[in-house]
Assembly symmetry: C2
Homo-oligomer: 136 residues x 2
Amino acid sequence: MICHIDPSNGIPIYEQIERQVKFAVANGSLLVGERVPSVRDMASQAAVNVNTVARAYRELQQQGILHSIRGTGLAIATDAPEICRHSRLNLIRERLRSVLQEAFQNQISADEIRTLVDEQCALLNQQPPASNQLNS
Amino acid sequence: MICHIDPSNGIPIYEQIERQVKFAVANGSLLVGERVPSVRDMASQAAVNVNTVARAYRELQQQGILHSIRGTGLAIATDAPEICRHSRLNLIRERLRSVLQEAFQNQISADEIRTLVDEQCALLNQQPPASNQLNS
DNA sequence: AATACTGTAATATGTATCTATTACAGTGAG
DNA sequence: CTCACTGTAATAGATACATATTACAGTATT
């Protein structure tokens, strides 16, 4: 899989990696038993430090999404698809809630919000669908 | 004015203060020439350090939204309403774009997004409208 | 003049994130 | 066995954010 890091969106890099692994599992882009890219591969693809990837993988292990195969790598755990399918919308919902809360607190109407949403949906649909490929 | 700080939304506190002053100006809650709460008042109301408020005010000065009256305080500048009315939707648009970009990159459909938006609009409408009052 | 406010600045401390680098033990293929 | 790969750990350094504390100069009120 390929990770797209946005260094300027306020979300820590290790957490962005975490989230994208979860989405990939929920999408079926990563299957149970399949190995995730090695920390060094992922780090070089994402132009990020190895420690940062290692932290993401560590937290994914603690959540039961990855399990370690000693000396070989990290693989998608059996329970991962269920966990990640459940997380899929929640990850977006939480971020969305935070934005809309600020909007409502500052007198922006639901109509204005819906207009902004439609506008951004149109813009993002035109862009390349950010190919979520598997790795080698 | 009263500031609502969310320590867990990834936006630095000084920037949250900055944004809320801009919204208040755009809304007409703060009028040209009116004084903004003193750094010490704002800090105690928001349960935040004085330096953090001072940083927000400093950046608002650099943007031409506040101007200093020596020994007396900071007041809303003449150009502030125009600047802030222009910023109003853009501040939300940028945060929204970031969230929707992540959603689209991870195969969440526009329909799913719109469902989430409507769901959150309904939830937030039920809550107290977060009174954006002027101070004493 | 004295007092109580303004903003502003300097200093030190703590925490979180990220980087760079080095090292080590386990695994598998040649 | 050797070599190249795994994850993992330890260390050190940089930066950003926020805190606590102290201090100072300007202004207005009494």
